[in-house]
Amino acid sequence: MTDLLRITDLRKHYGALRVTDGVTLKLAPGSIHAVIGPNGAGKTTLIHQISGTVRPDAGSIHLADHDITTLPPHRRARLGLARSFQITSVLPEFSVLENVALAVLGARGSAFGFLRPLAAEKRLNDAASTVLARVGLAARPASLAGALSHGEKRQLELALALAAEPKVMLLDEPLAGAGPEEAERLIALLATLRGHCGILLVEHDMDAVFQLADEISVLSQGRVIANGTPAEIRADPAVRAAYLGEDF
């Protein structure tokens, strides 16, 4: 089977700083590929390039059979690429439900409807309610997204990605700032997604990474210094030296 996501020799520099230095990655259908590495390794910049908010200097990105290297972010989203942001990024003036209803609309519908109120679009809102239940926000559909607690915003952030029913999800530290209980719930949720969509997971929580990942790539100074199964990564001396050291 062809890979869902194929990143080939991707390069990006800011001045003299090589933030992405020849990264090659693959994401197999239905699998979870974790990208770990110290702060400043270039993980978020990599996600930005895949989602289209940052242009790479060289290299290519394929989503299934499409070369998406130069497509704008919204076209990538319509092809089935959804993402969460490391720094929570929701629509603060809208209710939780409306945030997710717009995510459903953005992925599958057209924004060019001028008559019917969005709030009366039953199919969009029903789909949104289902997603809210899955991330554990079913009790708060009417709350303003801007007024949620940090942990709830993280749940909403994930709901926005899930709502698209994407082929590939890019998750940039989805557990950051979530409490231990919320983290456990989100880890369980992500585990249920295995087999349904491919997930590129950037995460600092090593317990989560080793529980969830089918494959792990270790990024350091913009370069993939190791790649393999969780067991292989755990045993890799170079990885221990560069990164895992204290946690292990």
Partner: protein, 306 residues
């Protein structure tokens, strides 16, 4: 919901009272007629400025385009709204689409400056129309009729403007609550997020500019009829600034706030204009105070935004 209906009820009271023989004089309907015309223009600006967050400093351009559509067709002896209104709206919509496609490549201050520059182009283009009076402007032979009826003349003028204002408000309210309006608002709130959700921000914003511009042309048609005259001054940057002030003063994004903002600006011009010809010197500071102390504009006083 209550405040906008109260505003429309008050506006409707004027022709009712004068029909009942209450001596309002010609002045009150004349002034409120102007308020309503500018309210239509300001409300259309509120779609892109308030809901879409696009600070266009060139919204006098579609106003002038609407007015000049009346003048140019007047010279060709075409006076009926059946032709005048579609031509005015299409011309303004086309202008916004062409200039918006360029302006939307920029953000922030650059967007403000480029929309201003495009409106100045309309100003100078109008001044160069020698057949239509050039700098001096053009006096209409005849007011616009509606299917032959003189609905923009005499006593009928005020009720007609009120109906147009109401319909524009209703239309914009419906748009604001629709997929399109909510997406436009989402793009203002968080552009990267909206794009990551799959929305083509550029296309949505461009469509919003075209709609706002076409609706503003209606105000231009009414303004030309009210004055029976058009001139390049309709497109002046000061006029664009007035429209922005009306929206901000009234309360951005509220739509009906634009009526209150237009009322405040037209009255302030009238009152301060009697005190001194340097009224902008007084108006500027009071605007700064209003923006500082009325975060949601006049429409937001004593309650939440409707």
């Amino acid at each position: 919901m209550k405040l906008p209906l109260a505003i429309f009820a008050l506006l409707a009271l004027v022709p009712i009272l004068s029909a009942l023989g209450v001596p309002l004089g010609g002045f009150v309907p004349l002034l409120l007629g102007r308020v309503m015309i500018f309210a239509i223009a300001a409300m259309s600006l509120d779609l892109i400025l308030g809901i879409g967050g696009l600070a266009s400093f060139g919204h006098a351009a579609p106003l002038a385009i609407g007015a000049y559509a009346v003048a140019i067709l007047d010279a060709a002896n075409i006076h009926d709204a059946v032709i005048v209104v579609p031509v005015a709206m299409a011309a303004a919509g086309f202008f916004a689409t062409a200039t918006g496609a360029v302006a939307l490549r920029t953000r922030g201050v650059n967007f403000i400056m480029i929309t201003l520059a495009f409106a100045q182009m309309i100003y100078f283009a109008a001044a160069s129309l020698a057949d239509y009076g050039g700098d001096d402007g053009y006096t209409l032979y005849s007011r616009t009729t509606v299917l032959g009826a003189k609905l923009l003349d005499g006593k009928a003028f005020y009720p007609t403007v009120l109906v147009v204002l109401f319909l524009v408000w209703l239309k914009l309210r419906i748009i604001a609550a629709s997929r399109f309006g909510r997406t436009l608002s989402a793009i203002r709130q968080n552009r990267p997020r909206a794009q990551a959700l799959g929305f083509n921000a550029f296309a949505v914003e461009l469509a919003a500019m075209a709609i706002a511009s076409a609706l503003c042309a209606l105000a231009g048609v009414l303004l030309a009829n009210e004055a029976e005259f058009v001139s390049p001054a309709f497109a002046s940057w000061a006029r664009s600034g007035d429209l922005m002030v009306m929206v901000i003063l009234g309360g951005v994004g509220s739509l009906h706030g634009a009526i209150l903002g237009a009322f405040a600006v037209v009255m302030a011009e009238e009152a301060l204009g009697r005190l001194t010809q340097h009224w902008p010197l007084l108006f500027g500071p009071s605007l700064v105070l209003a923006v500082l102390f009325l975060r949601r504009g006049i429409a937001g006083i004593g309650g939440r935004r409707d």
